[in-house]
């Protein structure tokens, strides 16, 4: 069953229409990736799911319509978004950043256990828990962003270019953890990623966006064999 179902999704910034009716789904427990060149509308798609841009069309999470609802309410349903640029609270400490991730489920919270789990995934964050987040390196801030999202104990994780600007080794580490989160905690993932080879390795389904339209879609294995994708995005 699909956890997230999107149909006829349109989005615009002012007069500029960025998404022209796209359709995609994230299976419960699955990883879906959205591929495409710069400006294709990948980030906008994630922002649309979270109610951060004006949209038209259908967005269903766990069967319920969420299009048009406020971001704060969508987050409370268990959708965590690791935004473009990481969204770090630079002047707060690492631990405060993480605690904010659990804010939306304050009533049920046992943050001490959640913090321990995050420090388990990212030991470096544990070492730096009382430093201000602004003093972290880019890779550490990306780990912090993922950690903050996990503090929500989300059912769906939206990841916007988690490897952007990171050294290949750091990026590989982050993807290893993303895979672990998906397998061990059954968190479904919607991934936007510039590194197409990695994204196709990780995901079970993939959608290729071009100027706001889905041009190719299907299981990742099929897309990897697709000639157009191979030539344009994989480079062989």
């Amino acid at each position: 069953m699909a956890l997230l179902e999107v149909a006829d999704l349109e989005a615009r910034y002012g007069w500029t229409k960025v998404l022209h009716g796209i359709r995609f789904a994230v299976e419960d427990g699955g990883i879906t990736t959205i591929l495409g060149a710069n400006g294709a509308g990948k980030t906008t798609t994630l922002r649309a799911v979270c109610g951060m841009v004006r949209t038209a069309g259908e967005i269903r999470f766990d069967g319920a319509r969420i299009a048009g609802r406020a971001t704060e309410d969508i987050v409370r349903l268990g959708i965590a978004h690791v935004p473009e640029g990481r969204g770090t609270f630079m002047q707060l400490t690492v631990e405060e950043n993480l605690r904010l991730g659990a804010y939306a489920r304050r009533a049920t919270g046992a943050p001490a256990r959640d913090l321990a789990r995050i420090y388990d995934y990212f030991p470096v964050l544990g070492e730096r828990r009382s430093q201000t987040a602004g003093s972290l390196s880019g890779g550490e801030q990306q780990m912090l962003a993922v950690g903050r999202a996990l503090m929500l104990r989300p059912r769906l994780l939206l990841l916007d270019e988690p490897s952007l600007g990171l050294a290949p080794l750091v990026a590989r580490e982050i993807f290893r953890i993303v895979r672990a989160i998906n397998r061990e905690e059954r968190v479904s993932i919607l991934l936007v990623e510039q590194n197409v080879a990695t994204a196709l390795d990780l995901a079970d389904h993939a959608y290729l966006l071009e100027t706001g339209r889905v041009v190719v879609s299907g299981p990742s294995a099929e897309l990897r064999r697709d000639d157009a994708i191979r030539r344009s995005y994989l480079g062989y």
Binding site: T71, E72, V75, H81, F89, Q91, R99, L100, A104, R148
Partner: protein, 293 residues
């Protein structure tokens, strides 16, 4: 020497009051990036409410806390009704709205209560007490203690509670805060509520010294601006310390520099604003804003 110590002590007392108004300014500035020019008038108006209650026979501390509650709700309401619609407007628009609010509150207070000065009671004993050769005004020390207490309470609230953390987060990074499920609009409104509450405390501590009238805060607001500028507009503790420094400096300069005396004291505050802005614009404890380009 006795005169010197005496002046320092009374400087600390008035400085504490400047500090608490400065604290209110800093709170709103940190939460919303707005310098609230109406802060003084909000405090004055709250103090009149306390006066009405006291006049009706309500005991002092009951009136005190009831005033804090009303001020909090009032601050919240002002943000929701007056500031919210211009939230994303240019700074100048917001400044003009605040000044409009200042004028409105001032004239409404004048219309309701007249411009005649009224005495306002102090909760502390009237009799000064003596340690060594130095006299301490009980109200001065009490006011200073109340200011420090407010500072400690605010510090604990912002540092150790989830709501305080959420308010700091909302001020720093609204977009990310929404993604954490924080209702940013309400956090900003809460910031105004708390600032109004702190202002009300300051008003009720000042009124016994300067008497209650609709213009009682106009001079004090300038001292508060000097304090906040000196301490740094991004540092609550700095604002209070700035207030103490301003209070002591103005007293000492007024006492020892003949041509300044009591008439030119306010000029000292303005001169301090100017010097700080020229030499160290972020203040003593303020964070220097760094923008990545």
């Amino acid at each position: 020497m006795e005169i010197f110590v005496q002046q320092v002590v009374s400087g600390l007392a008035t400085g504490g009051i400047y500090g608490s108004v400065a604290l209110a300014l800093v709170m709103i500035y940190q939460a919303t990036d707005v310098v609230n020019f109406a802060q003084g008038e909000m405090a004055m108006f709250s103090t009149y409410l306390a006066w009405s209650m006291l006049n009706a026979g309500v005991p002092y501390w009951a009136a005190f806390f009831a005033t804090l509650a009303v001020a909090f709700v009032g601050g919240l309401a002002i943000e929701r009704v007056v500031i919210r619609p211009v939230e994303n407007a240019p700074v100048l628009t917001i400044v003009i709205v605040c000044i409009g609010l200042l004028v409105i509150l001032n004239s409404v207070a004048g219309w309701l209560y007249s411009y005649i000065q009224k005495p306002f009671p102090s909760p502390f004993p009237a009799k000064p007490f003596k340690i060594g050769d130095i006299f301490f005004g009980a109200h001065d020390l009490g006011a200073l203690g109340v200011t420090l207490l407010v500072l400690v309470v605010l510090y604990v609230f912002f540092r150790y509670t989830t709501l305080g953390l959420a308010m700091r987060a909302a001020a720093q990074n609204p977009v990310s805060s929404r993604l954490c499920g924080i209702r940013v609009g309400w956090m900003l409104a809460l910031g105004w509520g708390f600032a109004a509450l702190v202002g009300a405390v300051a008003g009720m501590m000042i009124a016994p010294i300067v008497f209650l009238d609709p213009n009682m805060m106009s001079g004090i607001l300038i001292y508060a601006f000097a304090s906040a500028t000196l301490g740094g507009f991004t540092s609550p503790g700095g604002a209070v310390l700035g207030g103490l420094i301003v209070g002591v400096t103005e007293n000492l300069v007024g006492t020892y520099v003949r041509f300044i005396g009591t008439e030119l004291k306010l000029t000292v505050a303005l001169a301090m604003i100017l010097i700080v802005l020229l030499v160290r614009p972020s203040g003593l404890f303020g964070r220097v804003a760094v923008h990545r380009v």
